[in-house]
């Protein structure tokens, strides 16, 4: 009889400790669905979190985590005083602000434009084509970028040559001045379509009567776009804006690794994440790289908390 009760959805409001334990063992079949996953999360997520403590150690690969000597904030100071600190911070902030300033409004603009298209066939074709790059890996996208911009048979050089803008093909990807533009363009190219889906969905929820009323009052379609559609999806835009601010230090990783293969670009391409990769994996300075990563994580969490405070003030909390 008690077994049936246990299996029913009746949970005693106040469980004593021993009660909970017997209850736990009685439902072992159910616990077996969850506990392996929790154990898995513990290993693959929490152990590395604990492992970040090696930022305060001189981690030695032969001694391991437990025997390595503690050094306090040495690695942090080393990073703050190193020659790399300011360039890396500058690149991180500039690249991510550029991505935000251009990559954020672009899909909104696309969604607004797609919404004005009355020819369904045309709309569907544009959507199908622009969503596709999102599903290609960065290796492929970088391959396209390199191919289009290359000096032999690069279409971009051919185009500029035909338009008489340049006489000699330019090696765009080896010149530091162009790197940020190329990086941001490749990002917009890859994700503009897919990111617009969410705004299109928001636009679909806008009350159609408002357009009718506005049209009767003589508002042009351009006016309707900016005075009805845009304000109606503003809450969605704000939420995504806040999320983007929380991600401000994630300037990019795969895209930069793949596009900035030329070491000459390092002055403009090295951001916190690629710096951690370079220091940690390529030159095995594990503790130093972890310290840099931890520094970034602390700022990121602070930014996310601030962003959430802002969100709460606007009435759309994330958690």
């Amino acid at each position: 009889m008690s077994k049936i009760i246990a299996n029913n959805n009746i949970v005693p409001k106040q469980r004593t400790r021993t009660g909970a334990i017997t209850y736990f063992f009685r439902q072992w079949e159910l616990q077996l669905m969850v506990i392996p996953a929790i154990f898995f999360i513990f290993i693959f997520s929490y152990v590395p979190m604990y492992g970040t403590l090696m930022a305060f150690q001189n981690y030695n690969i032969f001694k391991g985590f437990w025997q390595s000597p503690w050094t306090g904030f040495d690695h942090f100071q080393l990073f703050f005083h190193s020659r790399d600190f300011w360039p890396v911070m500058r690149n991180t902030l500039v690249i991510s602000i550029l991505k935000l300033a251009i990559g954020f409004p672009a899909p909104i603009l696309l969604a607004l434009m797609l919404n004005e298209v009355r020819k369904m066939m045309f709309k569907r074709v544009v959507q199908t084509i622009t969503y596709l790059p999102h599903f290609m890996s960065w290796v492929i996208v970088a391959g396209f970028t390199i191919s289009i911009l290359s000096t032999d048979n690069g279409s971009f050089n051919i185009l500029l040559h035909k338009l008489n803008i340049i006489d000699e093909p330019v090696n765009w990807l080896s010149t530091s001045e162009y790197f940020w533009t190329i990086l941001v363009s490749a990002n917009v190219w890859k994700d503009i379509g897919f990111s617009s889906i969410i705004y299109l969905a928001a636009i679909a929820g806008v009350n159609q009567d408002m357009y009718e009323a506005a049209a009767i009052d003589g508002a042009s379609r351009l006016k309707q776009m900016f005075l009805i559609t845009l304000p109606s999806i503003l809450p969605v835009i704000i939420i995504f804006m806040i999320l983007a601010i929380g991600n401000l230090l994630n300037a990019g990783f795969e895209d930069i690794l793949l596009l900035a293969t030329n070491p000459a670009l390092r002055d403009v391409s090295d951001v916190l994440d690629t710096y951690v990769y370079r220091m940690g994996i390529q030159t095995s300075r594990f503790s130093y790289a972890t310290a840099v990563g931890l520094f970034k994580a602390v700022i990121s969490v602070t930014l996310l908390t601030i962003a959430n405070l802002l969100a709460r003030r606007s009435g759309n909390s994330l958690w």
């Binding site: 246990a6 959805n9 009746i10 439902q27 159910l30 616990q31 669905m33 969850v34 996953a37 929790i38 513990f42 290993i43 693959f44 997520s45 590395p48 979190m49 492992g51 970040t52 696309l110 434009m113 004005e116 298209v117 199908t128 084509i129 622009t130 969503y131 596709l132 599903f135 890996s137 960065w138 290796v139 492929i140 391959g143 396209f144 970028t145 390199i146 191919s147 290359s150 032999d152 048979n153 279409s155 051919i158 190219w189 379509g193 889906i197 969905a201 049209a215 042009s220 379609r221 351009l222 795969e254 690794l257 293969t261 940690g280 594990f286 790289a289 972890t290 990563g293 969490v301 994330l318």
Partner: protein
């Protein structure tokens, strides 16, 4: 009926032009790479290949498909995608089903344990050392096991399962089904749409991931095609840069070589992205659905 003014017309035409331009810009790099991959490698080096191949040939694809290493990379990627997706979806769905049960002791705690990982992680280096210490380096499983549980997908599965009629569970229980039986016989067969959507995203991730094998695998025969492609592209850029630095006579030789490999690497790229492009038109609507399901949680 809407009333169109002259200004509206102008705006409409502008929008059609801009969207056409965008679609063209998105499509062109793909088309151009396809054209180069079908063009004779030496001819490509003369430049000027844009919309149509000048000297059509299947040679490049012939070389790609005869290259045992590339073919092996393709198979590794396929196997990894299949195994990784099945394991991830199954394990995550079981986890999610357990998490729907009100009577689960410690449910709140488990949920917090999961959600914390969405906001915090240990970063690249501790993770790298963990994988090394677990002895997963240079094994096939390093590409599969770490993705077995996805907390994000668990939340989506859980939301879906909770939307199923509660009576189903009840009647299964009365008929003598345990939790596992109910899950496999009742819940899983009813979850077609959500399984399809999440499987697609997981499969795309597995197919496209070049970074994990890039840092954890050194054995050539275990590398998936995306990682190999990355190495090919890198060596291509190097040859191109070297060609520019070289003296004139030598320059021409290595230039020829680099461009010949360009047609080849375009063919490899086409092969590496083929599965996605082929599947994509049929599953586009699931992708769109998926992004909306995910966004509800935010």
């Amino acid at each position: 009926m809407r009333y169109y003014t002259f200004g509206d017309r102008v705006m409409s035409i502008t929008i059609y032009c801009l969207l056409t331009l965008l679609a063209f810009t998105t499509f062109y790099p793909f088309w151009n790479a396809l054209v180069i991959s079908f063009n004779n490698g030496l001819d490509t080096s003369l430049g000027g290949i844009t919309f149509w191949p000048r000297k059509f040939t299947l040679e490049n694809y012939g070389i790609v498909f005869q290259d045992k290493r590339l073919l092996n990379g393709f198979m590794v990627a396929l196997l990894r995608t299949a195994v990784g997706t099945v394991i991830s979806i199954l394990c995550t769905a079981i986890f999610a089903y357990g998490m729907t049960k009100r009577e689960l002791v410690g449910r709140k705690f488990y949920m917090v344990v999961g959600i914390v990982t969405l906001y915090f992680n240990g970063g690249l280096i501790p993770y790298y050392l963990l994988i090394k210490d677990l002895g997963l380096r240079d094994t096939f499983w390093v590409m599969v096991i770490p993705g077995a549980i996805s907390v994000w997908n668990m939340i989506i599965f859980r939301t879906f399962f909770m939307g199923l009629p509660a009576g189903l569970d009840e009647s299964a229980k009365i008929d003598g089904c345990g939790h596992w039986g109910t899950f496999f016989r009742i819940v899983l067969p009813l979850s077609g749409p959500v399984i399809a959507t999440l499987s697609l995203f997981t499969a795309v991730y597995h197919w496209n991931d070049w970074f994990t094998p890039g840092i954890f695998i050194t054995k050539q025969n275990l590398l998936p095609i995306q990682t190999m492609l990355k190495q090919i592209l890198n060596s291509n850029i190097m040859t191109e840069q070297m060609a520019q630095l070289d003296s004139a006579a030598q320059g021409v030789v290595s230039r020829m070589r680099s461009v010949t490999t360009k047609s080849l690497s375009m063919a490899t790229m086409m092969v590496a992205t083929l599965p996605i492009v082929m599947v994509y038109p049929f599953v586009q609507k699931y992708f769109v659905k998926g992004v909306l399901v995910g966004s509800l949680k935010e």
